[in-house]
């Protein structure tokens, strides 16, 4: 029961709750993102004629809902949002709605330094930064994959120049 502590009390109540307004603060509490997704999908079908009002700071919640169903509380005001949410990746939602960059400032600095090295054709520096990114973020990271492509292109261009 521990995985769904905050959920079980709601489910037990819903045995007898109909025609009601159910307010759930921070619905993501205690829930793994996969379970949260499953819970949000079935929520409208729980009980009879209930309306759910939920609060959340989780992009995993927002990506399950169309923007028309979301209000944001900001600067003491509650307002609709203009950002598309349903079905989108959480990084885009975090960046566009919460205003938080996808990566930490240190990571952004490293990416910027890598592309500066590519532009200036500093192969050794670019290689070193690419190695660091691969070690820290893994070789499947979207940013690393893109950086690998740029590095390979630069390497090929420089080899072509040497052959010419």
């Amino acid at each position: 029961m521990s995985a769904a502590n905050g959920l079980f009390s709601i489910l037990l109540d819903l045995v007898n709750i109909n025609n009601s307004i159910i307010i759930i603060d921070e619905i993501e509490l205690h829930l793994h993102p996969a379970l949260l997704r499953d819970f949000l999908k079935v929520l409208p079908n729980l009980g009879n004629n209930n309306q759910f009002i939920i609060t959340s700071h989780s992009p995993y919640v927002l990506r399950e809902l169309p923007k028309e169903n979301i209000l944001i509380a900001k600067d003491g005001k509650v307002q609709p949002i203009n950002v598309f949410t349903k079905g989108r990746d959480v990084s885009s939602i975090i960046e566009e709605l919460f205003g938080i960059p996808r990566r930490t400032p240190e990571a952004l600095q490293k990416i910027e330094a890598f592309y500066a090295a590519i532009t200036q054709q500093q192969l050794d520096i670019a290689k070193q930064l690419l190695n660091e990114m691969e070690t820290e973020w893994g070789t499947l990271d979207e940013g690393v994959v893109r950086a690998q492509m740029y590095y390979e292109d630069l390497l090929n261009d420089m080899e072509d120049e040497i052959h010419q």
Binding site: G6, I10, V15, S20, I22, V42
Partner: protein, 187 residues
Amino acid sequence: MKVDRLDWDGFDYPFIQIGNMPLKMEMDIEFAANEREKTRSYAEELKKQESPLPQEVRLSLHYNNRRVNANATANYYQFSGYQYALQLKKYRTDYLNLFDDVGTIYWYTEQRTAHSIQNLDYNVKNTDALRNILAKMHYFHLHRLQKDIELRPGQRDSFETLNNLYQKVFPTRSLLGAEPIGKPILA
């Protein structure tokens, strides 16, 4: 009306008012025709006619500075259908359908736990009490399956309903019911 008088399950002002800024709420709530009619008839039955009950489809409540304001005093009573049903339950033998058309507001705060049950039918203060309720529900369910108990109109097998809800969220799992703790006692 003072905010402390709001009789909504789980609405606990000290838990909600935790910041420095005073809490402010505005609500527009629509009422279905059958809920309005049931609330009116329950109020009549309980002789709650302090003032004529309105038949507004849409009501507004404004909460500010520890007071809740509505457009008219009588509007508060329209929110009371569920509370009226609870009162009538004590006097009715056919109480099972009392709650079919009336609802209330439930509030689950960030402090909720597995035994934060808001439903007044269950008095759950700790995990043992929760186990006790689930065991009773399971006991009733088993007897219904064995055909010792036949459901009356409006009556439900709560364990079965709970299991159906549980399986909507966890399709691959089901509630087993009361299980003995520890090793079985050998004869």
